[in-house]
Amino acid sequence: MTSSTADIDAVARPRAIVAGHGELPQGLVNAVDCISGCGAVFIPLSNYGLAGSDIEAKLRQLADEHGIRVFFTDLPGGSATIAVRRLMRTDSSLILITGTNLSTLLEFVFQPDAPVGDAARHAADKGRATLVVTGDDEPPASAPSENR
């Protein structure tokens, strides 16, 4: 991780939205806070009970309110991801990271001074690298699809 503790304000202010299914966004942000004390970097948004257009409207409202350009979502084919892609249609400065896990968010938290695009790419690389299978020497017969 690229750690920086010099700018506490930068670590604490919202810099990204975490959106996805059920209570996962809140849970992920809560876990970030437990580990780093920096859960405030993220605004969680569940898609629960919302139509696609409502998810899009809520994401837009939160992004505008907090000046946020970075969105973390869970499933690449999920409704939150599709809503962010709709926002990206009219704002090419937005950045979307899908398949988010805890390591992804933690990496992002500790790059408060990096350009958000760089921070997002590093975070995605980190999250991807932490998916490890241990305890099975044989490769699976067929790998599951990544694009869900």
Binding site: H21, G49, L50, A51, G52, D54, L75, P76, G77, G78, S79, T81, I82, R85, R86, R89, S145, E146, N147, R148
Partner: protein, 166 residues
């Protein structure tokens, strides 16, 4: 019949459809019936990105879906057909008498809609449209995910959205 599910879902392609139903039903294709999406390349690209590469997605307006329905059912793969709203499904059912079951999967809150289930909110007009579908001999049930309880139209029309999750 290779169309395993005829679903009304205002989110169209999303996790519940692609993964929740797609995995257990071993879905090979999705027919997305929406008059607007059928004419918009950008919208189609958006939904195409949401499905795994081994899953085909077919875009159609209602007349095309009616015309091509026999091809969908003749496909060796299993498929899901999804519409964004009740009126689209009603038009489809009127054009395809072979459709025997309709799944209400997700109609979310809007002004004027009343909660019936936690994932189904309906206006009086929409209830009338579902009743019209049912009146054609189609079995209309609500069920968001495969392991949830199927709720018949006659039952969920009486509910107020506070039923247990399963």
């Amino acid at each position: 019949m290779s169309v395993a599910l005829y679903r009304i879902d205002d989110r169209l392609i999303h996790g519940q459809v692609v993964v929740g139903w797609g995995q257990p039903l071993n879905i090979g294709f999705i027919v997305l019936v929406d008059d607007d999406v059928a004419t918009c390349d950008w919208e189609q690209d958006l939904y195409r990105m949401g499905v795994p590469p081994e899953m085909e997605i077919i875009f159609a307006d209602v007349p095309t879906a009616v015309r091509d329905h026999a091809a969908y059912t003749g496909d060796k793969r299993r498929g899901v057909l999804v519409t964004p709203d009740i009126s689209t499904m009603r038009r489809l059912v009127e054009g395809v008498p072979e459709i025997s079951d309709v799944n209400v999967g997700g109609i979310h809150h809007r002004a004027g809609r009343v909660p019936r289930l936690r994932y189904v909110f309906l206006t009086p007009d929409e209830e009338g449209e579902l009743a019209a579908i049912s009146g054609r001999g189609v079995r209309v049930t609500a069920q968001d995910v495969p392991n949830a309880r199927q709720v018949a139209l006659a039952e969920f029309r009486r509910l107020k959205g506070d039923e247990p999750a399963t």
